[in-house]
């Protein structure tokens, strides 16, 4: 709690720039040349000293990527992406040999985090948050590792896991998101650089919220994280992911894959606050965020819950989904997506009901301001054997101004007669009477909008862990700045 308030304060101090987190550090990068080809895939694999099976897997994914068209279902205006114009690997030089402790970390990097308001040293001491910091593709520091390992929890970078726990990685990597799922998934599988790996052993309840901060720093570096979280029988973990990125003029590509697996009675709660650089008010620059997040409730009585607050990126393309295989399994999706200026978002979820008595809940709040377009797209699919399954979906959209768009596109497919699917959606504008009431009590128009929009989103925000909730509320208000005349 204290950490996030501090974060906000520090960030607010940064001053004149519209984008509060827009700055970059000078760290010498080592880079192979731009471009995407088999050699780069091999280079990345070699840099990470990967075993052969991993290289083979990457190469297979790369050949699949070459054959697949880009997915085109989203209501997004995506500029042509020249995949050859990106760097696919960069790592801060001074980290070539991994530091043994925080003291060994490049002071420049530490400074960046201080500016961002994430003092690592303090974070170690802070209320139970272990941080695995990804700085430009390479995991720079993992804290609390020791305490977690005493419980048998594995929390490390995916590269480390490939070396130290190949049996787990082999078994689960790509098992939820097959490499041929769509072309961005294939691309990620071929060139992913780093990301987090979590394994919670049977019967263990992870005592802290696991957390990762991502930052894109090097110019034109597509960042391809790969996250894999496995919750074994009767276990529980809550995972937080937050991102901020420095201001850049050229658009940057981001295509992460996140896979979750829960076995019998296990639960994963995955929370995201996404605040990549959205581009300037004319839509120049900004991150392209093509994320594939999917969880499989493999075991009976297991549960996966996604919570997301999406305020950044020029383009957000993201559908955190649940495959409800186990009987009685549960999937949840809570989402706030805010688009302002020329941002575009097409986001939602997929709930695939396969097991009996499965249930899912979707709460989505979309806010569109400026010249932005915001689409909710969600699939609820009840298969014929999923008897007695239930879904409830509520989608609310708020429009601020009449140059923006809000769209709701649910897909409801049911082939089981014992099941029940309910969908409700509304679209309205921000209530003028409420604004007047708040302003009559002395709030200025931006504070009033922030307050009302936060109220509108409360149902979702209250699902965030405390550490994030405060930050998210401020982000909601910050993202809408300048949207009301």
């Amino acid at each position: 709690m204290a950490a996030t308030e501090q974060t906000i304060k520090q960030v607010n101090k940064l001053g004149n720039s519209d984008y509060k987190y827009g700055f970059s550090t000078d760290v010498d990068d080592i880079k192979p040349p731009k471009g995407l080809n088999e050699d780069i895939v091999k280079y990345i694999s070699a840099q990470k000293n990967e075993p052969e099976w991993m290289l083979d897997w990457r190469l297979k994914a790369f050949s699949v990527f070459n054959k697949m068209p880009k997915p085109d279902w989203a209501k997004l205006d995506i500029p042509d992406i020249d995949f050859q114009d990106y760097y696919y690997y960069s790592s801060p030089k001074s980290l070539k040999d991994k530091p043994k402790s925080l003291d060994e970390i490049d002071p420049e990097i530490l400074k960046t985090y201080e500016k961002l308001g994430i003092p690592i040293k303090e974070q170690e001491k802070l209320a139970g948050v272990a941080v695995d910091v990804v700085f430009d593709s390479v995991s720079v520091a993992t804290t609390y590792k020791k305490q977690l390992s005493e419980l048998g929890i594995i929390f490390c970078s995916i590269s480390e896991a490939t070396k130290n726990h190949p049996e787990l990685v082999k078994k689960y990597l790509g098992s939820v998101i097959p490499i041929a799922d769509h072309s961005f998934a294939a691309l990620n599988s071929a060139v992913f650089t780093d990301g987090s790996f979590v394994y919670i052993p049977e019967g263990v309840r992870c005592p802290v919220e696991l957390s990762t901060y991502f930052r894109i720093n090097a110019m034109n570096t597509g960042q391809f994280e790969r996250t894999l979280i496995i919750a074994d029988k009767n276990s529980y973990v809550s995972y937080l992911e937050g991102c901020t990125a420095p201001m850049r003029d050229e658009s940057q590509l981001h295509a992460a894959n996140v896979e979750l697996v829960t076995l019998e009675n296990a639960e994963i709660k995955y929370s995201t606050v996404q605040n990549w650089y959205p581009g300037d008010s004319e839509g120049k620059g900004g991150i392209y965020n093509f994320v594939t997040k999917r969880g499989a409730c493999r075991g009976n009585n297991s549960k996966i819950s996604w919570t997301q607050v999406e305020t950044g990126s020029a383009i957000t393309w993201k559908y955190p989904s649940c495959i409800l295989q186990g009987d009685n399994s549960k999937g949840e999706f809570y989402s706030v997506a805010i688009t302002n200026n020329r941002q575009q978002a097409d986001t939602g979820t997929k709930m695939i009901h396969i097991g009996k008595n499965t249930s899912s809940k979707i709460i989505s709040k979309g806010i569109s301001a400026g010249k932005a377009n915001n689409t909710y797209r969600g699939l609820v699919n009840i298969q014929s054997k999923a008897s007695n399954s239930r879904n409830f979906t509520q989608c609310d959209s708020l429009l601020i101004g009449n140059e923006c768009g809000a769209h709701t596109v649910p897909y409801i497919e049911s082939s089981n007669s014992d099941s029940m699917v309910e969908h409700e959606a509304t679209t309205s504008k921000i209530n003028e009477e409420q604004l007047f009431y708040c302003m009559q009590r002395g709030l200025n128009s931006e504070d009033a909008v922030g307050l009302i929009v936060n109220g509108f989103c409360k149902e979702v925000l209250q699902h965030l862990p405390m550490e994030f909730a405060v930050e998210a509320q401020k982000l909601v208000a910050i993202s809408l700045e300048g949207s009301v005349g």
Binding site: Y437, M439, R441, G442, L443, I452
Partner: protein, 248 residues
């Protein structure tokens, strides 16, 4: 404090206020009475700065400033308070959080630091108790699922927390039972002092038995047709609007 001269206001081309004059000094309580559609609520909304009203003529001086130069929130922070006839429900916003935000907005406007959390807790607890507002209500969403009486009490709580110089009570008595009416009136009376003023808008004389006004004005067709002291309210109760307006 507040000086309204020859005010003409219309909504979508329809004239509502038609040459209204009203002057309120520090420490005074004025009652404004009138039938439905006489322009009472329009006056209160217009003074607060609500959109959608067109001023054709007139001037409003507030503490030496031109009120019309100020935005809604600026007027509020300069001490103009409107107790709404129909307070807004704001889902998802906790009442106590809203109150704190409002207090801090005013403090910021006057260059004061944010209120200390403990101090706020104490303040709100004591004020709420006086108005018979339960702590549970403060944790609920602002005005959502409040009863009519609870909403009005909430308005008075906000008034006492913000300690305005000029309060406008827009039919605060409507929808109140006798107990709530007494509590609300006591709340208002406690706030009365030589530095602040009140404009009490009401349809019935009942409220004025509890909040004794210094002056009573009768409004009809967008202008004040008769002014007097408390006895005018009694006379009105007896004769009705129509007759009083005729004799005016």
């Amino acid at each position: 404090m507040l000086n309204i001269k020859d005010l003409h206001v219309s909504i979508e081309g329809k004239k509502i206020l038609n040459g209204l004059n009203l002057s309120i000094n520090k420490g005074e309580v004025h009652a404004l009475m009138g039938p439905n559609g006489s322009g009472k609520s329009t006056l209160s909304y217009f003074l607060s700065g609500k959109d959608g009203y067109e001023m054709e003529r007139g001037s409003i001086d507030y503490n030496g400033k031109n009120l019309l130069d100020l935005e809604v929130d600026e007027r509020a922070n300069e001490g103009l308070f409107l107790a709404f006839q129909y307070p807004m429900e704001i889902p998802g916003v906790q009442t106590s959080f809203f109150l704190k935000t409002a207090i801090n907005s005013k403090r910021k406007h006057h260059g004061l630091p944010e209120i200390d959390a403990l101090e706020f807790a104490k303040l709100i607890k004591s004020q709420a108790q006086e108005l018979d507002i339960s702590p549970d209500m403060l944790r609920r969403d602002l005005n959502v699922n409040y009863s009519g009486g609870e909403k009005k009490k909430q308005e008075i709580l906000q008034m006492s927390l913000l300690n305005p110089a000029m309060s406008i009570l827009d039919e605060t008595d409507s929808g109140l039972d006798i107990d709530a009416l007494r509590i609300v009136s006591e709340g208002v009376n406690k706030l009365r002092n030589k530095d602040n003023s009140f404009l009490v808008i009401t349809h019935y004389q009942r409220l004025l038995n509890y909040i004794k006004p210094d002056y009573v004005h009768i409004i009809a067709d967008g202008k004040i047709v008769k002014s007097g002291d408390f006895s005018l309210a009694l006379e009105l109760e007896e004769k009705g609007y129509e007759e009083i307006s005729k004799t005016a």
